[in-house]
Symmetry: C5
Subunit: 91 residues, 5 copies
Amino acid sequence: MIVGRVVGEVVCTRKFRTYDAAKLLQVQPLDLQKKDRGLPMTAIDLVDSGPGDEVLICLEGQSAVDAIGLGDNPVDAVILAVIDELKVADA
Amino acid sequence: MIVGRVVGEVVCTRKFRTYDAAKLLQVQPLDLQKKDRGLPMTAIDLVDSGPGDEVLICLEGQSAVDAIGLGDNPVDAVILAVIDELKVADA
Amino acid sequence: MIVGRVVGEVVCTRKFRTYDAAKLLQVQPLDLQKKDRGLPMTAIDLVDSGPGDEVLICLEGQSAVDAIGLGDNPVDAVILAVIDELKVADA
Amino acid sequence: MIVGRVVGEVVCTRKFRTYDAAKLLQVQPLDLQKKDRGLPMTAIDLVDSGPGDEVLICLEGQSAVDAIGLGDNPVDAVILAVIDELKVADA
Amino acid sequence: MIVGRVVGEVVCTRKFRTYDAAKLLQVQPLDLQKKDRGLPMTAIDLVDSGPGDEVLICLEGQSAVDAIGLGDNPVDAVILAVIDELKVADA
């Protein structure tokens, strides 16, 4: 999984059938110092997160699809936790 | 998923059996400011999109294949929504 | 999927059992202007392609394996079409 | 799989249901000389590892999920071994 | 799949249950001219290869796991052939 920050929302009217129920957030991955560290992606929110939240993103498809009860819903990224703290050990 | 813009179409005569029914579009990924942000890819269109449309691309195989009723159709990317708006929250 | 050009063939004598039947081609990914755009990869050819052909590569495993009737055959890339034309829309 | 070093822990209160039981560690991938070699990631720990341990990370979902008996648990990375030694052959 | 050279071995005592039977090799990916071309990775050896061998690596999980009869064994890379020759076509 990767750590990211929610930066926006993706709004679609014309979409694949099972996506009507999905909340799509735009997420920016972060490094250990919580700076931007790569390309933003779109994820289905499973934990009611929103802009500014630091979240845990899972880059995975089928088991996530099963988990949310949308068996034929194409998905490659879900938000599955809001992060309270990223404890970095002393080097 | 990632946000991209449809830039063209891939035309093939000699192809794997189940691809006869698939519409193959070439898509350029975009960043938050809607600039090109990496390498183009080819995706199967599920929502009747076309050149110039901003779309949501899912990088995934098996569940997408099941979703479109083509059980033995190799696929690693589908277009599953046309994007109306990408709402970026204020920093 | 990604667009690439067949640049060679991989010859192996000692290989995993189900690979005896597989034709392994080396493919160079291309950008929209058909220039090299990243690292070459090896793919199982499903459409009888050969050196110089522009092809469509699918980066996927299980459904491709099922599709070619080799259920326990590890695979992460197949060539599933020879490209006639890549129609790029005017910007 | 890739070789990495455990650098911290991810603490979450609000999370997807089946993640209550998962221990989430932050891991920095390493190169052959054991220097940092890319972006950190979050993995579910399967072998009771901790900060400073060099570990083997598997970037995979469904079989890992099955292996730990959490069938609908989205996951894309697990720690499946603590590394004693990385024997590099003489060039 | 990608072409690589075996550069070492990963030795682990504390590991996930089904990994006791797995031989873990460290592999460096190569380009068409057989120069190093990216980050090393760890793969399960299926063809009794060793340091110095040029091999074919498959970046895939579930079907590889099934293929070696270890159904709940997390894996994302296997060595499935020793390469005799990489025939590059004239440009």
